[in-house]
Every structure is written in C-alpha cells, then in structure tokens.
C-alpha cells in the first residue's frame, strides 16, 4: 500500500522472501464489519445508507499493519468486482460493502476456489449481480432465469472470453481467437444460480447480519432440470447447493483460470504488460503450488513478487515497463509513508470518486463489475497507440491529472477530514533541500527519481525560506507535491 522507513528496514534485514513470510503470517486487523458494528453503524437509522463503509475501507487501506494483505485485497477487489452503490436489496449497502471486502481479505492468502465459492454464496454478490431471488423457468409467465451472474462469473472472474495458452496469450485456430462459451452456455449455467436468497432465519432485515451469512437455497425456486454448459451436464434432479458447487468446479477446471487470473494479478501488482513467459511461470504456480494444489494465492503472490521480471532492475530501462500507479495507491503511499492518522478514528476521507476535485477513484466504488479500468485497456492517441495496454489510463484524463495534484496539495498541507500526516521525520531534514528530497525519493519512489528530476525539485525548494518550523513545513509540502507529481512516482516500476 506504500513503503515506510520501517518496512524498508525489514526488507533489508530479512530479504524479499523473508519479508513476504512475515507478511503472510501477520494476524489480520479488526474486520471492516466488526469496526462498523463497534461504531454503531448497525443502528436502524443507517439501514438505507452507505454510512460507515468509506471510513472502514480507508482505515484498512491506510493503517492496517498487514500491508501486503491489504494490497492483495485491493487487487482482488479490482478483479472480482462489486461496487457499494450496486448492492440493491433490503438496505444496508454499507454492510454489504464490508462483508464483501472482508471475504476478499480473508481469502487474499488463501485459495482462489474457496474464494469463488464464498463470493458466489455471498449476499452482496447475489445483490450486485442480481441472482439473489433469481427463480427457475416459470412455465406460466415464460420468465427465464436471470443470466447476469452466469455470464460475468465466467467472463470476468474465471475464464474470460477466449481460449488462452498457459502464458496468457490467446489460442489461435486458423489465425482466429476461439471464444470460450456461447449463448447456450450462458442460459444453461443461469439455471444453476436460481433459488438463492437471504438467510433471515430467526431475524429480519432491520439488522444487517443477513448480509454476512451465506445465502440459502429455497428448493422450490431452484431449477431442478438438467443444466448444460461448457460441454458438461449437471444431471436433472441435482439440488441447488450441489449444483452450485459442481458448476464452480466445472468452470474452475477450465485451463484458462490459471493464466487469466495470474496475468491480471501481475497487472495489479507489478506491471501492465507482463511478458508471456512471466505469466506462464506464475500460471504454473497457480495451477500447481508444488504440492498439487491449484489456486494457492499465497504461492501465486510470492511467484509474482519474487519473479526476475518483478525484481531485476534491468527492467527499468524497458520503456514499456511498469504500471500507472492508480490514484488510491498514490494517496495511500503518502498516508502510509507519513503515518497519517485519524485521531477520532473517523477516517473522514469519504468518497473520492469525483474526477475533477478528488481522486477520480474510490475504494470499493467501481461503477460496474468491469472495474474502474479494464485489464485490456489500450493507450489511445499514444505515440505507440495500441501496442501496449495501460489499464489505469482508463480513469486518466485532462480532469483527473489536475484534480489529483490539487487534491494532494490540500491533503499534504491540511490533511483530509480528520486524517493528517506526521512530518516529524522530515522536519530535521527540511532545511537541506537535497536531504529532504533524498528521503522522499527513497520512501516514496524507491530511489527512482532521475537526477534531473531531483534537480528540478531542488531548484524549487532551494528558493524557499527556511529556519523556522513554518518555513520547514512549507518546504516539506512543496517537495511532497512535486515528488508526487513527478512521472517517476506516477508510474510504479
């Protein structure tokens, strides 16, 4: 989520894999759900609201000590997407958001198949992709099962639209890509996701508990006929819960899952255009962690982060390497580096979606299941347009590039809401521009600021008065704005 002096020291002391082991072993912090209950957001007046969810998400992103788990959770939330505004049904969008993100976090170092099961049974996903309350074919009205989840669970969460090689490149036949499924597969699979509804046993919708409990099956609403998709048939008469597990097993057995998910995780964590060989190495680990287990995310994350293509500094010379740091991660890099805190625990940052005046992105608030940006988004109008993908550029435009700098200028100097940074580590350096910039370069940019960039920033800071706390703070603010606006920071490498 962002480096700190302490994390850098830990990596130096333990090495990359030692640091990863430490991170994997860290205990989770208080869940979003529990934090929201503790803050009494489960009181009835919050039922038809989004109250409490932004603060719960920001608290985790900016302050939870298990930084890697948070980072992988964010990545998963951008692959298996559900947005807070889309949790339609019986109120408590706020708790749907918490329950959903807590599932992603609980499985971030777990198994992808388990995650898929839990997501598919979760009330929030049932709401978001509208299969909660979905019913079997009705011979009287002609109403058919809702196809929404059947389509997106395959297109976005598991196999994608075209057959893939293990290195993530499309399989070609006669020069053409081969689609993974057609309309008949969708209507067949849609029959599986019928009969599911909230578990309201012994309670009602006036408290949010049902958002956290897996959905339950009403057998009379479930399609009991045969379900045929992906060249497989679930036999007529199979009950709903068994059908769902079987269906996910069938989809999960597709050879696309490893490369499809691995490539996207690399894009989220390391670089937008991974070499096929890199994807292939990670997908091999996804398919088998060495102990015969498919979907071991801890092994996959290790494989991604320890790969030569992630670690070798020779990559820095490749003009296509790296990824645009998404706005939420730029903000968290600042907040974590300087231990931003919320004295009232309100984390009152709120919804940062506005592109002209805020970050143009807000955690958990993608407007569709297609995420803030698509993994296949290509650079348009670029001097090498179409040659490479650059997902995060989908939310980058003439408004957001300026809105971001303006927002950070305020955040850096005044904080956001009650969230303010602690610059005590920088104050002793601030009278010396070079020392100040060197420190920011190390903590924020992994030492990647070009000498010319350092000189540009130094020229600015050297012009500023010094010697008092007020002038030192101004020098820190200006240096931080300049570092965070610099291309070397904007593009993570």
């Amino acid at each position: 989520m962002g480096a700190t002096r302490e994390q850098i020291a830990q990596v130096q002391a333990r090495g990359y894999s030692g640091w990863l082991s430490t991170q994997f072993a860290m205990a989770p912090s208080t869940s979003r759900w529990d934090a929201m209950v503790a803050a009494k957001f489960d009181a009835i007046e919050h039922k038809n609201s989004e109250n409490g969810i932004d603060q719960a998400l920001w608290r985790k992103l900016l302050s939870s000590p298990d930084t890697l788990r948070q980072r992988v959770t964010l990545a998963l939330s951008e692959i298996i997407v559900a947005g807070i505004a889309g949790f339609n049904g019986s109120g408590w969008n706020n708790f749907s958001g918490a329950a959903y993100m807590d599932i992603l976090e609980a499985n971030a170092f777990g198994n992808y198949r388990t995650l898929l099961q839990q997501i598919s049974l979760s009330a929030p996903m049932g709401e978001y992709l509208t299969y909660r309350g979905n019913v079997k074919f009705n011979a009287t009205t002609g109403a058919l099962p809702d196809e929404n989840y059947a389509r997106e669970v395959m297109q976005l969460f598991t196999i994608g639209l075209v057959q893939l090689n293990n290195d993530g490149t499309p399989k070609l036949s006669g020069g053409l890509q081969q689609e993974t499924y057609d309309l008949d597969d969708i209507t067949g699979l849609a029959r599986v996701f019928t009969g599911w509804g909230y578990d309201l046993t012994g309670t009602d919708t006036n408290s949010p508990g049902f958002k956290k409990r897996p959905m339950t099956m009403t057998a009379s609403r479930h399609e009991s006929g045969a379900k045929t998709f992906l060249d497989t048939t679930i036999a007529a008469g199979t009950d709903g819960p068994t059908s769902l597990t079987r269906a996910l097993d069938i989809i999960y057995a597709h050879p696309n899952v490893g490369p499809f998910i691995s490539r996207q995780l690399i894009q989220r964590l390391v670089t937008s255009n991974p070499a096929p060989a890199y994807v292939g190495r990670v997908a091999a680990v996804f398919n088998n962690d060495g102990r015969g287990v498919k979907g071991n995310l801890q092994a996959v994350v290790s494989a991604i982060l320890l790969d030569d293509h992630a670690r070798n500094s020779n990559r820095l010379a490749d003009p296509n390497y790296g990824k645009l740091r998404e706005p939420v991660l730029r903000f968290s890099a600042w907040a974590r580096a300087f231990k931003a805190s919320s004295p009232t625990d309100a984390w009152a940052i709120g919804n940062t979606s506005d592109p002209g005046s805020r970050l143009g992105q807000s955690p958990g608030r993608s407007s569709t299941v297609f995420n803030f940006f698509r993994p296949g988004f290509v650079l348009q109008n670029s001097q090498n347009g179409g040659a490479i993908v650059a997902p995060e550029f989908q939310i980058t435009n003439e408004s957001t590039v300026i809105g971001y700098v303006n927002y950070m200028q305020n955040a850096i100097s005044k904080g956001v809401g009650d969230v303010k940074a602690d610059y005590s580590s920088l104050l002793p350096l601030a009278d010396n521009a070079q020392s100040l910039i060197d420190e920011l370069n190390l903590v924020m940019v992994a030492g990647q600021l070009a000498p010319a960039t350092v000189n540009l920033i130094k020229g600015g800071i050297d012009s500023m008065p010094k010697g008092t706390e007020a002038t030192r703070l101004n020098r820190i603010y200006a240096a931080l704005v300049l570092v965070m606006a610099s291309p070397e920071f904007i593009v993570q490498k």
Binding site: N88, L129, T130, G133, N134, V135, T141, G142, A143, L144, P145, D146, E147, N148, R151, Q177, L183, I186, S272, P319, N320, L324, P355, G356, T368, R374, V378, L379, Q380, N381, S382, N384, G385, I388, F393, Q394, T396, N397, E398, S399, V401, I402, N406, Q409, T453, L456, G459, G460, I461, D462, S463, M464, R475, A478, V481, L482, A485, P487, E488, V491
Partner: protein, 466 residues
C-alpha cells in the same frame, strides 16, 4: 505567447495532408489521394456543425423504451414480460403518431409508444425534430436468421458482452480498439478548427468512440476544465516550485506510460488557459436544465461549449456524454422509468438550449448503447440482447418518423435469435454513416471510417434521417 500545441499540431497535420495531395497526383494510391482531397476541403469548412453521442451504458431495454402499442404487438409484449410491461393505459399519453407507419418484414403495420417517462420527448417528435431508428445494432454485413444460425457469415465478435459490444458500437472492434468513428470523424475535421484540441470533447469518461488516429479526445468535467492550483498561484509561496511543477508534469519522457501521462497533463494545462476564458465570456444559457441528473449536467456543458465554439474557432465538433445503470437484469419497473426520465428530460433541455443558441439545426444528437435486451424477461428484468431502438434528435433531423424495419414481437420469431434478442436489420455503421454524411464526410471517406460499410449496397449505406 507561444502557439498552443493543438494549433500547431493541426496545422502540421494539414500541411502533411496538403503535401500528400500534391504528391498523390503523381504516385500515391488513389485512396490516399481521395482522402487527402476530402480532408483539404473539410479544412475549409466555414459553417458550424456538431454531433453528440449519448451513450446509455449497460444495454438499454428497447422494449420498455419504444414500446409496442398496436393490439397484437402489445399483447405479445405483455405476455413475454407480464411483471414489468407498461399497460396500454399507461402508454396512452405517449403514443407516437408518425408521418409514415412503420412496417415489419412481412408488411404488417406497427404502432409504438414512448416509455411514459419519456413524455418530454413527445413535443420534439411531434415537431419533426426527433426520429426513431428501429432495430439497429452491431453487424459485419446484412445477416439473416438462417445465416446467424448456420454461422455462415461473419458476426460481430463477442456478442452480448458489455465491454466488447460497447467497443464495437463505438469503433467496429471489440475491447482493445484504438480508435472510434467519432474520433475518426475528428481526424478529418480537426484541421478546420483553430484549436484541434476542441474537436473531440468528452464530458463523460474515457470512450474509444472519440479517439481518432490523430484526433485526441479531450475530457472536461461538467463544470469545464480544471485549473491547476499550483500554477494559478505560487506553490506554497514559491514561484520556482511552480515552474518546477509545470516542467515535471509536462516534459516528455522516455518511459511510454510516463510520457503518455505527461502528454495528458500538458494538454490539460494548455487547453484550460483557452477554454476557461471562452466559457466565461460566452453568454449564460437561459434554458433550465434538470438538476440531480448527471446526463443533463454533461449536456449542459456541451451546450456551453457549443455557445463558446465561435470564440474557440471550432467548426466541427463531436461530443460524448453518457448515462449508466441500464443493465436492468433486475427491478426493471423500479429502475428503468427513473433512467427514462433522466434521458428524456436531459435531451429535451439540451434541444431547447440549442434552439436558444440558434444552432438547433447545426447540432444532431443520437443515443447508443451496448446492446438491446431480451423481450422475454426473467422474473423482474431482462438479459443481454443485440439490436435495439435509438433516437436521433436535432433541427436537421427528418423526424416524426421511424427508420428501419419494425421487428416482430416474438420469442424466437423471424427477427430475433431467441428470447427476443433482436437480430439487427440496420447496422451501426449505416447509422453512423448517415450522421457522418451530414457532417460533411464524403461517401468514399465513410468507407474508410467504417470498415464494414462496404458490405452494404451504396444505396442503403445512409438512412436519410438527417
């Protein structure tokens, strides 16, 4: 003061084309010659015209937008979606009385009504400024149901997938496309504008529709361009830091991603200096736009930019705005009417604003969407489909009419591929060609703009609605 980047770029582009023209007479292929000549003539255009794409993200439900109303069709429509059909009584106030009755392929007459919540479009339709295009969608070539079933002709890739069909609508290619037909129109016309940056203007969010091969989509917020605080006044009191900031965010870079980011920043900073002044000096609009309506907010900014077009030196512009939430798998009767109200009210206000500005016949707006939806619904919504009904609006539109062929309301009937997913009888490229032609794109250039248009007979490439 230095010339704006956009101006010099467009002048350069024009010079390149002009030289291509002179060389073409000797050696260059005929097609390049033609294109170059057309671009050169476009560059001399002196009047003003603008095209506005209103994209309905999620796949609009055609059947509850342009509703079958004649007795037979309405009965069928109701039978296929009993829990979320509009009753004939509810539709009585929005029945369309066109100048010519639309017919289906068997020659039967159809009657339609607008969604009740589109009532604000009725006066525009009746005034002849709004047309409905029936069953338009993505196609590679004219396609029969038999050909679809046999897969004996090429079909658009990745049918029924949101992101891909959005892209095919906007660009003729699935996700990964680098240019759309709005942007390619911009390529042709940007040299006629004083500042090429204001040729393709997006008030929504990134959309391939507006990216050209050289034309760039310029994105503004609903309040206009965003000024950089650190440039407006010295950064924490330091003018030298402000200078450093400007350099850092606008310099060219060797890393492709860094360079692209800085190109956007530079365009933003440069354009803001021009646009803010132009918007401030343009007369305030008296037309009242609805509030709490994000589409209306965007269209209001489009109207303000059109009003500023003379001072920006813009002769041809393509705009993109959007409204989301149309993926109505669920809760159709709750959500779709709200969307219709927003759409109808925003379009009506925009039309009024163009009339106020005296440019109603210079501005043509049209709707588009990922795809249509199924006619035969699930319990409370509809699923992904294909062909759909769309609106074209403006003073130049030959309205109060339907264009295209009325589809039979059916489940696996002659005009659908099952569940009322319409097999389009009019292609998006014919729809696009009609508007491109109105803007001044030549027939031969339309063929390079729209890669599949040549699969249609030249007599039907344009539909004549504008």
């Amino acid at each position: 003061m230095q010339k704006k980047d956009g101006t010099s770029a467009s002048r350069r582009a024009f010079l390149q084309r002009a030289s291509a023209l002179s060389v073409a007479g000797v050696a260059a292929p005929w097609a390049i010659n033609l294109a170059a000549m057309a671009e050169a003539s476009a560059a001399t255009a002196t009047d003003y015209k603008a095209l506005v794409c209103i994209f309905l993200y999620g796949g609009n439900d055609y059947a509850n937008t342009v509703v079958p109303y004649d007795t037979t069709s309405h009965a069928n429509y109701t039978s296929f979606r009993p829990s979320f059909a509009h009753s004939q009584a509810a539709l009585a106030g929005t029945v369309l009385t066109p100048t010519a009755v639309p017919t289906d392929s068997a020659g039967f007459a159809h009657q339609y009504a607008l969604a009740p919540n589109l009532a604000s479009l009725m006066p525009i339709f009746n005034d002849g400024k709004l047309a409905v295009v029936l069953n338009v969608g993505t196609l590679v070539q004219p396609t029969t149901k038999q050909q679809y079933a046999n897969k004996s002709v090429r079909l658009p890739p990745k049918l029924f997938s949101h992101n891909d069909q959005q892209s095919v609508w906007q660009s003729s290619s699935p996700e990964g496309a680098t240019s759309g037909w709005g942007g390619r129109i911009g390529d042709l016309f940007q040299s006629s504008n004083t500042n090429s940056t204001f040729t393709c203007v997006n008030v929504s969010g990134n959309a391939v529709f507006l990216s050209g091969n050289s034309a760039v989509q310029y994105q503004v917020s609903t309040s206009g361009s965003v000024p950089l605080a650190g440039l407006k006044s010295p950064l924490f009191g330091s003018a030298a830091s402000t200078t450093a900031l400007r350099t850092l965010i606008t310099q060219s870079r060797s890393n492709v991603l860094e360079n692209e980011y800085n190109r956007i920043s530079k365009r933003s900073v440069d354009a803001n200096e021009v646009l803010t002044g132009a918007l401030t000096s343009a007369a305030a609009l008296r037309t009242v736009f609805p509030t709490g309506n994000s589409l209306a907010d965007q269209l209001k900014l489009v109207a303000r930019m059109i009003s500023a077009a003379p001072s920006l030196g813009a002769k041809r512009q393509v705009f993109f705005v959007s409204l989301g939430g149309f993926d109505t798998h669920d809760a159709m009767l709750t959500n779709h009417p709200v969307l219709m109200t927003k759409l109808g009210d925003a379009m009506a206000a925009f039309h009024a604003a163009t009339a106020e500005l005296g440019v109603a016949d210079k501005v043509t707006s049209f709707t588009s969407s990922d795809f249509g939806r199924t006619m035969a619904g699930n319990a409370n919504g509809s699923d992904h489909g294909w062909g759909s009904m769309h609106f074209v609006m403006g003073g130049a539109v030959k309205g109060k009419r339907f264009y295209g062929t009325a589809p039979v309301v059916a489940n696996n009937g002659p005009d659908d591929v099952g569940q009322g997913r319409l097999l389009p009888t009019t292609s998006v490229e014919q729809f696009a060609a009609t508007m491109g032609g109105w803007l001044g794109v030549s027939d031969s250039e339309l063929l390079s703009l729209l890669p599949n248009l040549s699969n249609y007979n030249s007599s039907v490439r344009k539909l004549g609605f504008v």
